[in-house]
Structures are given as C-alpha cells and as structure tokens.
Amino acid sequence: MKQYEYMAKEHLSRQGIKIPPGRVADTPEEARNAVAEIGPAALKAQVLVGGRGKAGGIKFASTPDEAARVAESILGMDLKGFRVDRLYVEGKLDIDQELYVSVTTDRNAKAPLVMASAQGGMEIEELADEFIVRRHVNPRVGVMPYFGKEIAEALGLTASLGREFADLLGRLYQLYRNLDAELVEINPLAVVGGHLVAADARLNVDDSALYRHPDLDTVEEGSALEQKVRALGLAYVELEGDIAVMANGAGMAMATLDAIQYYGGKPANFLDAGGGASVGPTASALGVLVDMHPKAIFINIFGGITRCDDVAQAILQVRQRQGIPVPLVVRLVGTHEKEGVALLQSDGIAAFSEMSAAAQRVVELAGEGR
C-alpha cells in the first residue's frame, strides 16, 4: 500500500529525520492559511504518481493570496489519470545539493537494498548506473553507523555530512523494518545549510504486513470495481479488452490472458479465483464478470485444490440467479473433472479439456482474433 507524500513525511519525522515545515490543504483557503503560517512554499499535489513536477502538480507561492490562486488551479486537476483532491503546502528550501537515498527489498538477493546517489532529484531509473551506489544490507546485521559512513564516503560527502547521512540511513532502515516498507525513498534528500532535509518522500508498505500496522492511514488504489472485487479476497486487475477471464492461480490467470492474446483476443481483466475457492466465492467472482458486460467469458480451471464440480456448481448458480447473457467458454480439467463436466453438460454447456482450443474458441465467440 502506497502512502501519500505527506503521510510518508510524517513517518520520517517521527523516526527523527528532518522534514521541511508543511501543512495539508484540501481547499484554496487552507492553502492560503498554510502559507500565511509557514511563508513562501511549494504546493504539491498529493497523488500516487511520479513526475508530478513536470506534469504541473507542483507550483510555488510566495504570499497567502498567491497560494490560494495556485491551489485553485491545482486542486481538481487531472494528473496522469488521478484527480488532485489534496495539496501538501511545504516551506521552500534553499537547497545546496540534492541527494538520493532509498531502502527497498531486493528479491533476488533476498535482502534489503540501499541505493544512494549524489545526483538526486531525478527518478532513480533515469540515473546512469555509475551515479548510483548500491549496497545490500545484511539482515542479520542491519544498518550500523559504519555502513552509512561507507556509503557517504562513496557519495563523496564531507565527514560531518557523512555522519549525519549515516545517522539518517540508520533511521531510514529502522523505518523500513518497523513499518514493513517495500520502499522508502527520499528524493531529493536536500543539503540545506550543511544539514540533510527530506524534501520529497515515498513510502510503500507491504500489503501482507498491514495487519501489524492498524494505525496506518489507508490509501485505496485502483478503480471502484477493482476495490470491490479485492474486497472479496480475490486478486483482480482491470484491463482494456472485452473478454472476461477467470482462472485459478495467479500464474494460470496470467497464462490465460497470454493465450487469449496469442489467438488475437483482448482480455478485459485479470481474475485469480484462488486455489481451492469454494462454490460461493467462485460464484461471486463470476457474477462480477457478468456485470462487466464483456463480449465473452472464459473460465479456465486446472483443478488441483479447486474442485471442478465446485466450479461447475458456481457457474450453474450464476446462470440461474442472474443469467449469463454472453458467450461462455469453460475449460475444466483435474480434480473431480468428470463430475464437473457432467454437471455443465446437464445444463447444456460443453466444457473444453484443452486450454489452447478453449482460448481459441472464446476469441472467435467474442468476434475478435485473426
């Protein structure tokens, strides 16, 4: 779960990392008051996209009146598909140098990774490799002062700034660990009057660890429909096409989308019904697909833990309850395959056993394909 900049900064500050003075503003009036209080400031759109600045999501105001005008212009605007509902009004900094620092998890190394650069301000992907210092953290050891000093040394910081950087990196790592962060990033990490200040911040928290952080502000991502399906406990992503898809297992669901595309079709969604889902949840998930009004529906099941007859039951339930007014292709093999196929047949549905044939057929029925 991503956190807005102002939330991320609040966490940094609680961890003892210096941030500029700032206020949240949801209206031009609040922006005016904020600037009246803290002086010349940057008004920053609180949206979960990178490159806000270039897209016009960050503007400056020297006076309260200017702040209100600028806020008026940013609030409500569309920033790369996200509506701006909130601003963070932050005191302007007199920056000598911009650094970059982040802690994230390196899946391959199975360890935390610190990245730092003396060329901050840019997105890290846009930085050439030679400007980035990468050091894995040994999780048995954590980030001790010497480790931060080694990185500071590699960045070419002075001894006193190096000590401050080492202290900050220790705190940043503590935040990463204590808050179960996937990523905590300060960019730019500004050098202001010989001291380090977090001028912008990103914080993504591990969804699997949210149960440990009940006090964390909840930030919903995705469309209303995505949020609704996820609330059922299912992994769901909206896509551009018209063939609705349900499969069991994330890898299987991805392979199913690939197969549709392979035959020239366009999938409407990714839906992992999970391994071993029972009749009820499977029916709910299918109901959502029907409500999407796709051109066709493809159900691709390899029954392992999932029982084919449970899936067949779910299909029949949805047919009875709300009807399935679009072509439906079902591929059903594995555990209790016979019973499932028989059930579907009793309702006039012919199940495929080959994934390739089934994918080809649903693309045809949707009127797409080569």
Binding site: G251, I260, F270, G275, G334
Partner: protein
C-alpha cells in the same frame, strides 16, 4: 535419485489439526510420503489420520527423528513456526502460507542459510518426487508420473498444467519444485537448477517463470554453464506495465523484469523458450530426441 526430497525423508506437519493440515496430511499419506508426526499446541496425545500430534516441534523431532516439515500456520504465525522448525533441527522446510510479511520471509531465509537448511516457499505448492512416492505440498496427486524431467516453477496451478501435459506426453518427472510466488522465497531458479544438474536422474529441466523480478535473467547466466536441456515458459506476456497480477512476484515496474528481457536472456543462454504452456512438452521431446 531426485532433488531435495526423497522417499526416506521423515516429515512432520506443523498445524496438522487445522482443516488444511488435516486434508493434506491425508493426501501426502495417500501418495506414500512418510509423514511421521504433526504439531498443534495443546493437542499432544491426539492423532490425525493415525499420525501422532505433539505440542511442539521439539517434542515431535525428539519422538520421530523428523528432518523435514511442512507448515500450514496462518501467515502472521508463519515466522514463529519456521524458526521453531529451523532451531529444532529441521533441514527441509516447506512454507505453504501466502501473504507472509516480506520482512518475516527475509528473516526466515537468512536464518535457514545460516543453518544450511532448505526453505521451499513461502506461498508455494511444495515439492514432489514421483519416483519415490513422496511429496510435501498441496499439489494434486494424480497428475505426476515418475521420470527424468525436473520442473521448477514459481506458480502452482500453472505448474500443474505443465506437469500434467508432460505426464500425458510420456515425460515423467524426477522432482517438481514450487519456489513460491512471494517476493522473497527460499530458493532461486539457480539453486534449483544446480540441484537438478547434480542429479544424475534428471535429463531435462522445465522452468516455469513469470514477469517481475530478475530471477530468470540471473538464472540465464548460470544456465550457460550447464549441460542439460532446459525449456522455459514464462507467463505474463500480455500484462501491462505497473499492474500487479496476483502474485507479488508478478509486477513490472520501471521497465525491469519484462518478458522480453527474460526471454532474450534465456534464449541467449541456449534455453528453448516457448510462448504457450502447451508448447512445453513437445519442445522437451524435441530437445531430448527420439
């Protein structure tokens, strides 16, 4: 032979009295696995499917001399269960739960490395060695056949699909290993490929990967040094960048971990890369020759 799991391995089930634990204990026993005990706090003295239940792993290991464990604890308790197993001498640990906090997985994997233990998962279907009638996992029993093809996969159902198609094509499996779908898991493609390479009975390997991360790219470098036919199928060809696709593993961000980069690296390493799951078995038949 086979890799990681053999018929003589003595297995305990942590969380044996829960629904999942109970069901899969039955399935493992039916397959022929030597399940010798289970744990569930406060349930010592009971039996599940004829298997004795202990309060702690310590007691279970003392009573049964088990060296392998499969964990069915809910995610918030998985770290404690994993450490309980590792600190009590378990050296093959299968972690079934999904949604284990990544920091917990980091700690588990680091500790297992220190102790020389093998961790499969978390968020895995487990592993199965058909030729020795043993398994630790939740995969369906009927789709595997004994044979000489090693399979290593990130994803469960997709690996079932491919194992089943191999079986149907007469290509039995030496061992099928589920690395697990979580961001941080105990194995890498490299560690499993190495084990297959060292196993005289494995004559070809199927890699089932997916978008996200760079495990496949790193494996490619290693494969160049191997002398064993490898077929790779990677899911996620159609996935748009920046979207999460169920598996935490399956996310493409910032232009890294794309299907193209993975396929390019694997092809360059001499791997036969196929684009659809049903192409795996024919490709392997082709590589192995008549």
């Amino acid at each position: 032979m086979a890799i990681l799991l053999r018929g003589e391995d003595r297995i305990i089930v942590q969380g044996i009295t829960g629904n999942q634990g109970r069901f899969h204990t039955r399935q493992m026993l039916d397959y022929g696995a030597q399940v010798v005990g289970g744990t569930s706090p406060g349930k010592a003295g009971q039996t599940v499917e004829g298997i004795p239940v202990f309060n702690t792993v310590r007691q279970a290991v003392q009573a049964t001399a088990a060296t392998a464990s499969i964990v069915f604890a809910p995610a918030p308790f998985a770290k404690d269960a994993a450490f309980e197993a590792l600190e009590n001498g378990i050296r093959l640990l299968v972690l079934i739960p999904e949604h284990i906090a990544v920091q917990d997985s980091i700690d588990i994997v680091a500790r297992a490395q220190d102790l020389g233990a093998v961790v499969i998962g978390p968020n895995t279907f487990g592993l199965i060695t058909p030729g020795q009638r043993t398994k630790m996992g939740i995969m369906p029993n009927h789709i595997y056949r004994p044979g000489k093809i090693g399979v290593v996969a990130r994803s469960g159902t997709l690996s079932y699909e491919i194992a089943f198609s191999l079986s149907n094509a007469g290509l039995g499996q030496s061992t099928v290993v589920g690395m697990g779908g979580d961001p941080v898991v105990g194995q890498t493609f490299i560690s499993v490929l190495k084990a297959f390479h060292d196993d005289p009975e494995t004559e070809g390997v199927v890699m089932v990967g997916e978008i996200g991360g760079s495990a496949e790219e790193e494996a490619a470098e290693y494969i160049q040094t191997l002398h064993i036919p490898v077929v790779a199928y990677l899911a996620g060809r159609s996935a748009p960048p920046g979207k999460r696709m169920g598996h935490a593993g399956a996310i493409i961000e910032r232009g890294r971990g794309t299907l193209e980069s993975k396929e390019r690296a694997l092809s360059a390493a001499g791997v036969r890369v196929v684009t659809m799951p049903w192409e795996v078995a024919p490709a392997m038949q082709d590589l192995l020759g008549p």
